[in-house]
Symmetry: C2
Subunit: 361 residues, 2 copies
Amino acid sequence: MKAEPVKDEDESKGRRLKGGDAQKLTMAEVAKYVGVSAMTVSRAFRQDASVSEETRKRIMEAVDALGYVLDLSAGSLSSRRSGFIAALVPSINNSNFSDTARGITDALENTGLQLLLGYTDYSAEKEEKLIEAMLRRRPEGIILTGGSHTDRARRMLDKAGIPVVETWEIPEEPINHVVGFSNSEAMSLLVRALASQGYRRFGYIGGTTARDTRGSQRRSGFLKTVEELGLGPGRAISFGVPPITMEQGGQAVVSLLERWPDTEVVLCVSDLSAFGAIMECKRRGMRVPEDIAIAGFGDYEISSICYPSITTINVDCYGIGRQAAARLLDALQDGGEASADEITLTGYRVVLRESTERGAR
Amino acid sequence: MKAEPVKDEDESKGRRLKGGDAQKLTMAEVAKYVGVSAMTVSRAFRQDASVSEETRKRIMEAVDALGYVLDLSAGSLSSRRSGFIAALVPSINNSNFSDTARGITDALENTGLQLLLGYTDYSAEKEEKLIEAMLRRRPEGIILTGGSHTDRARRMLDKAGIPVVETWEIPEEPINHVVGFSNSEAMSLLVRALASQGYRRFGYIGGTTARDTRGSQRRSGFLKTVEELGLGPGRAISFGVPPITMEQGGQAVVSLLERWPDTEVVLCVSDLSAFGAIMECKRRGMRVPEDIAIAGFGDYEISSICYPSITTINVDCYGIGRQAAARLLDALQDGGEASADEITLTGYRVVLRESTERGAR
DNA sequence: GGGCAAGATGATATCGATAACAATCTGAAG
DNA sequence: CTTCAGATTGTTATCGATATCATCTTGCCC
């Protein structure tokens, strides 16, 4: 794309030495080399700025030749735009959240904004620390998972004066923007779908701890709906601290079936625990769904591949990311007043699969 | 930990307005508020700096009261330390790499360094772009996955004068530090382990594309070893572009068995494709391992949970991250001369599980 | 009491780019 | 030929913290 000057040999020799020559290469030096002012070099780096094609070309050749790399940390100080947005997710090792992160990254492409990602490990304290660490870098916006934050975190976010997007649920007291869905209603939908297939004795695997508010909401949605359908009380057991692993899902289903052996169908807080539960059942010689039906939540890739494939709630994880980033970008353009305090609802749907197939029974 | 002043009501009201009051809160203002110089405030934020306990306490109270948040972008300009390191991984939605990322993050805790993570989607071009984007923020070090980079990327890294760690494999021409293992030898080890159990007719699923060098190395390790054992030629088929998904693993095993119906054991480039292959086999009524044995690579969580559990190579993903970060930290302290160009080998081991159990045959 | 080290604090220059405004040039319209 | 808009480039001040050096205490030792 750029003009290719001489691919000189000496560019690549003697470089193992740390920081030899480039350490102090600055825009001013590029400018001197080309014979223009630093300001013109600065302009050449931006598409919109008015620099003649001819000058830009010469500058870019010099940049290539010298191996200059723009220094954003200097630029962001004077322009007062850090050029990145922060996002916090509970865990990166979770394909639901990494899909969301991917959605954010994709939406940010070509905006000149970069994503700074952090993971909170489902802990509000860690989240608070991370928020502070992020704010110290003056992000232009921040995307959070969930609506449960420490007081100090809320204060810092308020003070920061940047758009905030809470995702993946619908907080009772939103800070600013929201892109999410009701975990409780989604789980309720799944219960009703299964009840309408004839299931009556429902079990549930998943915690209640404050650490995972989405999990708690799913649980309460489950209990409420089972009650409403006159099938209560629901048989729910908790297990470990979030996130519940596949292995814990396996242990949990065993406890649940020991306690309530006649359970017909078990709903799990996520597909991961559902997968663990199914595999443990098969290992113990039970048939799924003939002996016990099992469903998950989240529609992870594993659930469509697994045999039996797993009934679940499909959540638009990637879309949550994209839309959260879009809301942020809007807010940054509009000055942030326009769409604030509106809630963007994202879709979800029941996906019925083999793990709850009724005919087989 | 810090003194808790008055939790005043008015701190939290009227904050929905974007950027109201805090927009311009600066260290100088905190200093004026306390009655010291800005420099003293700056010192109070660092543990090592010499400030009297009494003064630090007053400053921190003021910081709390005013809601001041340190601005690192300003600080890094003058101190010439950006305070973060960059890491590039092929994919965040892959628990092997997210374990590595976790290892890095953990190793960085309490060093004052932050991780800036990017994902290359297995593309060298995307990697080049990302490296440039990262270098613009002047990271103090950078961790890469693999040893295959574009020329321009190498030049930029050379020029940058910061420690570089390549991970997850052993590059032919290392840039600087290396923390990894031989994917080829690891796969070879797995072949030998299975051969010594009596398996003779080996199949392989996984690509050869330049995109995934680790995958290619595993493949060539497979082919070479099968040959060496006098069991060749190995039956290898490629499928799609990396990363091979679970679903593609399922499709691939079908093609492979159509082409070479008498295959006894199939090795896959990763546990994910192995899982897909196993599930597809079960769906088609084949028994694993009785009718066909299948093994993976990477020891993902899924492999120990799955029924049948999956034979695989366990890789110390988390350790790769920790050690890469440790090498970086060392280099930053020593001035980088000490350990450069040494290769840190990380461990791997064969994990035999149900999916290749021989007795059942 | 003098001298001096260690501790605490302040004053000033500076990091490297960009905002804001000024200056210059070009060409077209009048 | 003059004028003026628009394009191009330059000059200077500045973003907000920190490095560096200077200053001022305090206390201890001989």
